[in-house]
């Protein structure tokens, strides 16, 4: 590492305002616009009356007479609140279960050094690479045989098939960054394997656990194909499926309510991200600093 002095010297060319505008603010502004435009579009469509939505006149990027009609339709004429609740239950339960399983799997593969640990790690990663669009057919047969079809359990039990490999892989990388000596020291201090995991490894892996948790939560929140296949009645649907299947009637798209559903559905994840963004970043970059 170079001294802080030489660092600031190296980036000195960025310090004048015009240069900073070109090298920093302009690219950032472009990114922000591209990333936020879908949100903006969802938001204005949510509040646009149908007349304005279908009109070819006027400015498509603005609302002249905002209305809450679409939100009202979404909340009171569809099962949207129920879909939301289903999505929350399915996402939270499957994320927690997957994290618990992934912590044990990742710790065992990374630290217990049992025979075949490395191939197991690789196999778990390969399992993650199998696309759900192939897996949903055999899984559907299993779900049906277990009598879980059209229940929330069908989703809670199938989501871990892609969440566990993903979380395990992420946590393996994180556990690897925790120095071995800490565990050896705890071993000499008299800790059992379980105590080492609970009192040393997990507290040090909080950023890793948070990033794995957020990722798993987002994946299950947005999951579409299993939810479309394994549940059919309106009361068990999740937001992504419910919005698409019940707000599109034939070739009629209820754009206002569709966008309202998408907007409300993406808020919880956005809020979650904004709370944990710092942990999330350090979780992705790893490393325990003493």
């Amino acid at each position: 590492m170079s001294a802080p002095g030489s660092d600031s010297q190296g980036m000195h060319y960025l310090e004048s305002l015009p240069r900073r505008a070109v090298t920093v603010y302009l690219p950032l502004a472009v990114f922000v616009c591209v990333l936020l435009f879908p949100f903006y579009w969802m938001t204005i469509t949510t509040f646009k009356p149908n007349a304005e939505l279908l009109s070819r006149e006027g400015n498509p990027f603005w609302v002249l007479q905002p209305t809450l009609a679409h939100i009202e339709k979404l909340l009171f004429q569809t099962s949207y609140p129920q879909w939301m609740w289903n999505t929350v239950v399915v996402s939270v339960v499957s994320t927690c279960a997957s994290l618990a399983a992934a912590v044990l799997a990742a710790y065992a593969i990374e630290r217990l050094r049992f025979r075949g640990a490395k191939p197991t790690g690789l196999a778990i990663f390969l399992a993650y690479l199998v696309p759900p669009s192939i897996l949903f057919i055999p899984l559907a047969a299993i779900v049906f045989r277990l009598g879980l079809f059209d229940t929330r359990w069908a989703l809670i039990l199938t989501y871990p098939t892609f969440l566990i490999p993903f979380c395990t892989w992420l946590l393996m990388g994180y556990f690897r960054s925790i120095p071995y000596e800490l565990e050896e020291c705890a071993l000499i201090d008299g800790a059992s394997r379980w105590q080492i995991l609970v009192k040393i490894i997990l507290p040090l892996s909080v950023p890793g656990l948070i990033s794995a948790g957020i990722f798993a939560f987002t994946l299950s929140w947005n999951e579409f194909i299993y939810a479309l296949t394994f549940v059919s009645s309106s009361e068990t649907k999740t937001v992504p499926v419910g919005v698409v299947t019940e707000l599109v009637e034939g070739d009629v798209y209820h754009w206002g309510s569709l966008m309202a559903g998408a907007l409300l559905g993406s808020l919880p994840v956005a809020v979650l991200y904004s709370f944990f963004v710092e942990h999330y970043v350090s979780g992705m970059t790893g490393a325990v600093k003493e």
Binding site: P179, E181, E184, C185, I188, I200
Partner: protein, 349 residues
């Protein structure tokens, strides 16, 4: 406190044996230093005593009890690691009290023992800090504090000073020695630094390539090295070695230069030998072996003269002050010489 005995201890990783049948006996209250170049197996040996590494064969006893199959926590030992291995998410006092907490000791006792250790090590005002808020030397002390609160039978140190700067290392060296004199706990200390070994040890074990080369007190090893490896490893600057051949009462070391055979040596004429001379046993005078000065390094207390003698680079350390310049011829007298066998390195005289 307890004695530690290693009998015919071996360690193999797969088909590679890294420790070849080591016998060491460390007395109760002794400070024993395992020293050797990197990769000589000293850390592996320490980890085997700690129980972090299984032994392939042999026997390790702590306090008369064979501990081959005893888990680390049952061995009643404490270890200080090279990178301190402090738990980053715990305060200094939690770090020090962790083992007692795991053992289910009452809170009162934990607090008083942590306090006592903190008092000894001067850590009382840092008890509520986290390791990241401490300097290297303070972390080192916390690591030692964590070891002493448990009042174990044996302390194990794995190169604990190698992450510190030179000045702090000397200071901590003294502190560890002082701590040992106070607690009298049997200690096994691993280092690659022979000065650390010389200054701290009651007993030094010199290791090389998984074998013990010699065991003895610091001055025994310095005065009577068993072989060329120990002679070259112990002492700073290192001993000079000059290859030669016995010729009557002298040894030809090339360029027509002769060194007298050490008194009492019985070595056959014509035999190839290696002559060993410590830099501090060379004196500059009006006569003696002709050498040419290459570099002069005054350190204040003494002066190190790097020169060429019969085509070999040698070092002399002299206390008196001389004005030497590179290229100047000087005369050196060896006050004490050793003889080694060039093939086996065994000491001949």
């Amino acid at each position: 406190m307890a004695a530690v005995t290693l009998s015919q201890v071996r360690k193999a990783f797969g088909s590679t044996e890294v420790v070849h049948g080591v016998d060491i006996s460390i007395d109760d209250s002794e400070f024993c230093v395992l020293v050797g170049p990197s990769g000589c197996g000293k850390s592996t040996l320490l980890r085997m005593i700690a129980g972090l590494e299984e032994i392939s064969s042999g026997r390790i006893e702590i306090g008369g009890r064979v501990v081959n199959d005893v888990a680390p926590k049952e061995r009643d030992i404490a270890m200080v690691f090279q990178n301190y291995a402090l738990y980053p998410h715990m305060t200094v006092s939690d770090n020090m009290g962790f083992s007692l907490k795991l053992a289910g000791r009452p809170l009162q006792e934990i607090r008083s023992r942590v306090d006592e250790a903190a008092q000894i090590l001067g850590l009382r005002e840092y008890l509520e800090r986290y390791p990241r808020q401490l300097s290297g030397g303070q972390r080192q002390r916390v690591a030692m504090g964590r070891a002493i609160v448990r009042k174990p039978q044996v302390f194990l140190f794995d190169e604990p000073l190698s992450n510190l700067d030179a000045k702090l290392r000397v200071q901590m060296r003294t502190e560890i020695k002082e701590l040992h004199q106070r607690l009298r706990t049997t200690s096994v200390y691993v280092t690659h630094d022979q000065i650390e070994a010389m200054t701290m040890a009651d007993k030094i074990v010199v290791m090389n390539m998984g074998k013990v080369e010699q065991i003895g007190s610091p001055l025994e090893l310095y005065d009577n090295p068993a072989n060329q490896f120990v002679a070259g490893f112990i002492g700073s600057p290192a001993m000079n070695f000059l290859p030669g051949r016995i010729n009557g009462a002298g040894i030809d070391i090339g360029e027509g230069i002769r060194v007298p055979v050490p008194a009492g040596a019985t070595v056959a004429a014509g035999r190839e030998v290696v002559v060993g001379v410590r830099p501090e046993h060379l004196a500059v005078g009006a006569d003696g072996l002709p050498a040419t000065v290459v570099v002069v390094e005054p350190t204040g207390a003494d002066t190190q003269i790097f020169c060429k003698l019969a085509g070999t680079d040698i070092t002399a350390v002299v206390r008196e002050r001389h004005e030497f310049h590179p290229g100047v011829p000087i005369r050196l007298t060896a006050q004490l010489t050793y003889l080694f066998d060039p093939a086996s390195g065994a000491r001949l005289a």
